[in-house]
Structures are given as C-alpha cells and as structure tokens.
C-alpha cells in the first residue's frame, strides 16, 4: 500500500511538472559568449620574491551555453589566461623568465539570481603551458590539472533578442599548482 501511495504521488508530481512546462512560452536556446578583460594572479610562490612576479594580464573566455530552463543553464567554457610571468635573477650573469598560461575546459552550471544577474560554478580541466627562457634553449612544457574550480558572477543585459552585453567577475582555482586568479571581463553574447 505504501509503495502504491508513493508511486501515485510521484505520478501526480510528474504531471504537475509537465503542466507547469506547458504554459511556459520561453524557447529553449543556445548562446555563444566571448569575454575579454583584466586578470590578476594571487602570487603565492615560496621561492620567488613577490616583486619578481608579474600578476596583471589580459584574459579571454569563451562560453557555449544551453538554456533549457527558466533559471538554470548549462554550458562549456574555455579561454586563455596568462597566470604569471616570473623574472628570476639566477646569478650576476644569468637571468631566466618563466611564463605560465592556462586553457580551462569547464562544465558551467549557471543560475539567474535576479533579472540580468547570474552566478555560476564550473569544475573541470585545465591545460597549463609553461615557457621558460633563459639558460640554454627556450623550453615549453605542458601539464594537466584535473581538479579545478571556477566561480563567476555575471551581469548580462540583453540589447535585443539576439545580442547580450555585460560584465563578469570570476575566480579560478587550479588544483595541480595551487594557483588562483581572478578576472574582470567585458562580455558579448549571441543567442542562437
């Protein structure tokens, strides 16, 4: 009897949910967004004096979003960020600099909080590209970080049915190297 009651309740809830969708005239759509702006690296190196670490750079982001529901949307995000550039004075004769870039590959879960204002979280991968110039040849090295996390707050204002502009503030944590960056981007989005 208990099982039957649960099944009936479940069916009723499912019906109500379906009906609530019927009245919704909103059309599921996709969007492409591109962002660019300032990024800042939170320097946390034990080995290098802070004065040798360059922290401010230009970063870019690209998002492809699927917006099937009223508030929630899902998507994929990538981009290109320079995390840091470090000037190292090794000896009187030698200097060396290293530059770290990062390409994130993230699954974005975004929620509209109030009109035009969104919060999102995004776990995923990051490809880290390191370039070293100095003693000997220039060396490029690639490594993968599997435990990364991004939090982002966005303000997106629709100019028309197809075009959206706005700004976003994001924080990114890279697990493999324990690096953190934040960025403030201007965003332009196209609804498909």
């Amino acid at each position: 009897m208990k099982k039957i009651t649960v099944i009936i309740l479940f069916c009723l809830l499912a019906c109500f949910n379906v009906r609530s969708q019927e009245g919704n005239s909103r059309v599921t759509h996709f969007s492409l967004a591109i962002g660019a702006g300032w990024s800042h690296y939170f320097a946390n190196m034990d080995l290098v004096p802070a004065r040798n670490v360059h922290k401010e750079f230009i970063g870019t982001s690209f998002q492809f979003m699927w917006e099937p529901e009223y508030r929630l949307s899902l998507g994929l995000e990538t981009g290109l960020y320079r995390i840091f550039k470090v000037d190292s004075v090794l000896t009187k004769e030698y200097t060396m600099d290293s530059r770290m870039y990062m390409i994130p590959l993230l699954l974005v879960i975004r929620m509209r909080i109030v009109d035009h204002f969104y919060l999102s979280v995004a776990p995923g991968l990051a490809i880290q590209l390191l370039q070293i110039r100095g003693i000997g040849e220039t060396i490029s090295s690639t490594q993968y970080s599997f435990a990364n996390f991004e939090a982002c707050a966005s303000y997106l204002y629709p100019l028309s049915k197809r075009f959206v502009v706005g700004g976003e503030a994001r924080f990114f944590y890279i697990g493999a190297t324990n690096d953190n960056i934040m960025s403030l981007n201007a965003v332009f989005a196209l609804r498909l």
């Binding site: 190196m45 840091f84 776990p123 060396i139 490594q143 190297t177 324990n178």
Partner: protein, 406 residues
C-alpha cells in the same frame, strides 16, 4: 567544493621537538664506538609502557641512537657522556600520525654509565628519564632496563633494512625532503641500513632523484616551474625548484658520492623511473661510485633496478650487463636472464618461501617492497626468508628483526 580545495592544500608541518641550542648535551663528550655497541640491545620498558610498549630495541647508527618500538613508535636520540654519566636527548614520533614529543634520559654512573664509557660490557644498564606528549613538556616517566644484547647470530647474517625514497617520504612529515641528500644523511637515525632512490633523467640527460613524474606542490615548494621533470634541464631544476624543505633536487652522482663518503649505508637500490634509454647514463655512474666505495674500503652495494620488460631490454643492451649489479622486480626467470644479484618481488605476492629458497641456492638474495604495516612486517620477518625489506618505517622492521634470537 570547499573540502576539495582544502584537501588540495599542503598538510601541516610536524615540528621536531628539541632542547634547542642551550641543551645540556652540548656540555658532554661524544661516546666512542666501542661504548656505543655496549648500549645496543633489547630493553624492558618498566616506565613509559603506555607509549613505548613493554619492550624496545636500542640500536646505534652512524651518529644517532634509535629506539625502536613494536607498534610504530620510535625515538631518534643524541647521546653524550660527562663524568661517566650517559646523557640522552631527542624526540619520539609515531609513524602512523604526527604525534611527537621530547625525550630526555640518562644512565647513571652506577647503573651502567661507567662500564659504557670505559667500553666494558655490562648486563646492568638502566636508562631513566622522561618524555612528553605535547610541546616541549617532559611530564611522563621513562625507565628502560637492559635485558640482552642483539643476538650475535642474527648480526652475523646480513639483513638489509631499506628505507624508501632515500630514507622516508615527505608525506610522513619528516623534517627533510624525500629523495634528497639531507634525507640520506637523516635516514640512518631511523634505523635503516640501505636506501631506495628514484632515478629520472632531466632534459639534458642528467640522472636526478625525484619520485613523481611532475614537479608539483606535493614534493616541492611553490615556484615558477611545474610540469614533467624530463621537460627541464638540470640547471633549470637547480635554480628554479626547491624540495619541500628547501633542498635542491640532487643529481644521482652527488647523492651516491654522499652515500660513499659520509654514511655507513650498505645498500642502494636505484629505482629507475625511466624505462628506456637511461641505463647507458646510470650504469657508468654506478660503476664509478662502486669503485670509489671500494677504494675507501666500503662494503657498499649499488643495484640498478629493473622494474619492467622495457627496463630489462634497455639493461640487456648494455655491453657489461651480466656483471652489472642489478635488482630485478619481475620473475625468477628474469632474474636469471639478467643475472641480477637481487630478486625483489612486491610484498603483496606473499612470502614465496619456495622461490626465495630457489634464489638463495643460486647465490642471490631476495628483498621485498614496500612493506609498512606492522602486522605484515612481523609476519614477513618471522615467517619469510627475505634478506631485506624495503619500507617507509625502518624502525618497525628493525624492531622485529633485532628481537629475533637468530
């Protein structure tokens, strides 16, 4: 997500309790070698049982006295003498967590101190003192009573206590970094008689000691360099990477030279992380250091590890492979094929007494790796016939080995 981020951070450092620079020990004189040997033995714990159990082993290494307990507690102790009183200071640790504290003790003149200082064997040694469980307190009584020496029959047969990653893992909160020269200097104080080191090649073909494939924050301080170790030259690693306690990543050559010149370590197992094209670089260094040890009268064995078929193929492509000391981790047939001196199966394959006996009849020896659990260590020492055990906890292996009668 917060848990994930917190979990990725480095765990805390465990301090080494110390009396500091004003220690009374600085006013004492070192014990001569013949005095040290008298202190080696099995001791009954008459006070301090709650931490150290009912019985401990005291064993001198090159410069430290190690107290080995049955459950993973151990002490690393400095010893001096003044007016026939033996003064002992150091710290105790528990290997399975970060519990630690000070330990101070003495042997009174009429309780064995005079005999030890004069190099005279005595059946009565009583070590009295105190230890603490928090900070630098010394609020618990300690008393050890000498029971018997370590069995001469046992000491006459070589048994290798091999310490992992040059002496101990960074993850065990030791005060020095794994695969560093500082760790090689430290490890004898933990009771080890041999070491295993992890060998990789840099971009410019220099063998260095490092365990992981990548430069990472688990093993190194946060710096401007990260990624696969073979992507970088030795100079780049030297200048841009520091191990977790500040040491440089050592070259194999420098590490082995330290072993030969500055330690009493008798076995070195080169765990080759590169499976191909590294033997031609590593074997000449091995030969040079074996010759250096021979010239100094050291009984040192350095074995090239063969962990895979690729490594065996690389090894067998070397002209002198049949006379190159090696350690094979694969089958007994592979041991014969490569003429390896040591067979080293992983411990999970069991004691394998039949195969070990077969190896012994061929004039070879057998080690097993990497054994850390107290119960398994006890079982492998009591029921197995291995000639050595690779472990992260050499003091546990030492305890169960030295308490044997033969």
């Amino acid at each position: 997500m917060a848990l994930l981020m917190a979990g990725c951070n480095k765990s805390k450092d465990v301090p080494v309790p110390s009396e500091g620079p004003n220690s009374f020990l600085t006013q004492t004189y070192p014990l001569p070698d013949n005095s040290r040997k008298i202190m080696d033995g099995i001791y009954k714990v008459t006070a301090g049982n709650e931490l150290f159990g009912d019985q401990v082993v005291l064993k001198w290494s090159r410069k430290k006295l190690t107290m080995m307990c049955s459950d993973g507690h151990y002490s690393v102790l400095d010893v001096g003498q003044l007016d026939s009183v033996i003064v002992i200071q150091g710290y105790w640790r528990y290997c399975y967590n970060d519990n630690t504290g000070l330990l101070n003790a003495y042997i009174a003149r009429d309780e064995g101190g005079s005999e030890i200082v004069n190099g005279v064997t005595t059946p009565m040694i009583i070590l009295r003192g105190a230890y603490g469980k928090t900070g630098n307190e010394l609020d618990k009584a300690l008393e050890l009573v000498y029971q018997r020496p370590i069995s001469p029959a046992l000491l006459s047969k070589k048994f290798s206590i091999l310490a992992h990653r040059s002496g101990g893992r960074t993850s065990d909160h030791l005060p020095v970094s794994e695969n560093s020269i500082a760790m090689i200097n430290f490890t004898e104080g933990l009771g080890s008689t041999g070491i295993e080191v992890d060998v990789q090649l840099t971009r410019d073909g220099i063998p260095v000691l490092f365990h992981d494939g990548d430069i990472n924050i688990r093993l190194t301080q946060k710096g401007p360099l990260s990624g696969p170790i073979h992507d970088f030259t030795y100079m780049q690693l030297y200048y841009l990477v520091s191990l977790i306690h500040g040491e440089h990543i050592p070259r194999l050559n420098d590490a082995l030279m330290f072993v030969v010149d500055s330690t009493l370590i008798s076995d070195v197992y080169l765990d080759m992380k590169e499976n191909v094209n590294s033997m031609s670089t590593v074997i000449p260094i091995q030969k040079e250091m074996l010759q250096r040890a021979k010239d100094k009268g050291r009984d040192l064995h350095i074995y090239v590890g063969l962990p895979s078929q690729d490594a065996i193929n690389d090894f067998m492509n070397q002209p002198d492979y049949l006379i190159t000391p090696s350690l094979c981790e694969l089958t007994v047939d592979d041991v014969v094929r490569t003429n390896s001196m040591v067979w080293a199966p992983r411990w999970t394959e069991g004691t394998q007494n039949d195969l070990v006996a077969q190896i012994h009849t061929q004039g070879r020896i057998a080690w097993t790796w990497t054994l850390d659990n107290v119960e398994w260590i006890k079982e492998y020492i009591n029921d197995g016939n291995f000639n050595g055990i690779l472990t992260n906890y050499p003091f546990v292996v030492g305890y169960y080995h030295y308490i044997r009668e033969k």
